[in-house]
Amino acid sequence: MKAAVIVFPGSNCDTDCWHVLRDVLNIQVDFVWHKETNVGGVDLVVLPGGFSYGDYLRTGAIARFSPVMQAVQEHARQGRAVIGICNGFQVLLETGLLPGAMLRNRSLRFVCKHIYVKTENVTSLFTNRLKHGEILKIPIAHGEGNYFCDEQTLETLEQNNRIAFRYCSEQGTLGDEFNPNGSLAHIAGILNERGNILGMMPHPERSSESMLGSGDGRKIWESILSAANV
């Protein structure tokens, strides 16, 4: 399996993703600068977190027009895997590869802490190593992670099992007090219709080694790896 981590001006989780893929999972991985026009025929594209283009206009709004995003869209169209983490999720929303949009956090604060998410989908290529209802401890770090979409879109997401993760308590209870940003239906991550694109606000690359306080995020990478090897 081969992976590419896209680097936009302002990306700042790119090296973390690269490190986890290379050093923790032994995956062949390269950085791809946003001005490139192809992603090199890889199996997985990672859109990392950060503040691409300084979050100007709207988060992810300018990154969408980077030359490399044409290649990422073509890669996705071929059914290959794309994971967008944090700012990468925002880019996927602005690009239209995933439905909905991000609003400012309900608290108006940038929230940086470990939170818990509940696994809702266990069949996607990003979650096949997880159990239904499995609780993961993963950090978030964002000011705009308050997911929003219209009612019809939410219904479609719910009915088609496209909500991958929801914010929850340590025990797995859903509730406003366990939702760090006010996102609709406690959504932390969603899938596209075909199931080859995942956008999530929590950072699995910051929780793939137990020395960092949690190794739970590793299961997401392992799911991708096992799906690619089938």
Partner: protein
């Protein structure tokens, strides 16, 4: 030459946490007369265009493609011909 002023706000159906916080701050300053408040973005641009109609349609496209996220935002345009 035209001058366009574009105002972008969150749709009525979308909660505006920033607007609510500003509203509460105004209330705490004693301005109880303020009922509702939305925070938005303002763009001003000048553009070369042959006529008003062309300028209008070009601005509409700019809004739809970049300046506005139609999932959460709405916009109004004020267009003025500069002589």
């Amino acid at each position: 030459m035209f001058k366009a002023k574009i105002d972008v706000t969150l749709k009525k159906s979308v909660l505006d946490p920033q607007g609510q916080t500003v509203l509460q701050a105004l209330h705490s300053l004693g301005y109880g007369t303020v009922d509702a408040l939305r925070v938005g973005k303002h763009f001003e641009m000048t553009l070369q265009s042959e006529d008003r109609k062309r300028a209008e349609s070009e601005i509409k496209l700019m809004c739809e493609r970049l300046l506005v996220n139609p999932v959460i935002e709405q916009y109004t345009v004020e267009l003025e011909e500069l002589r």
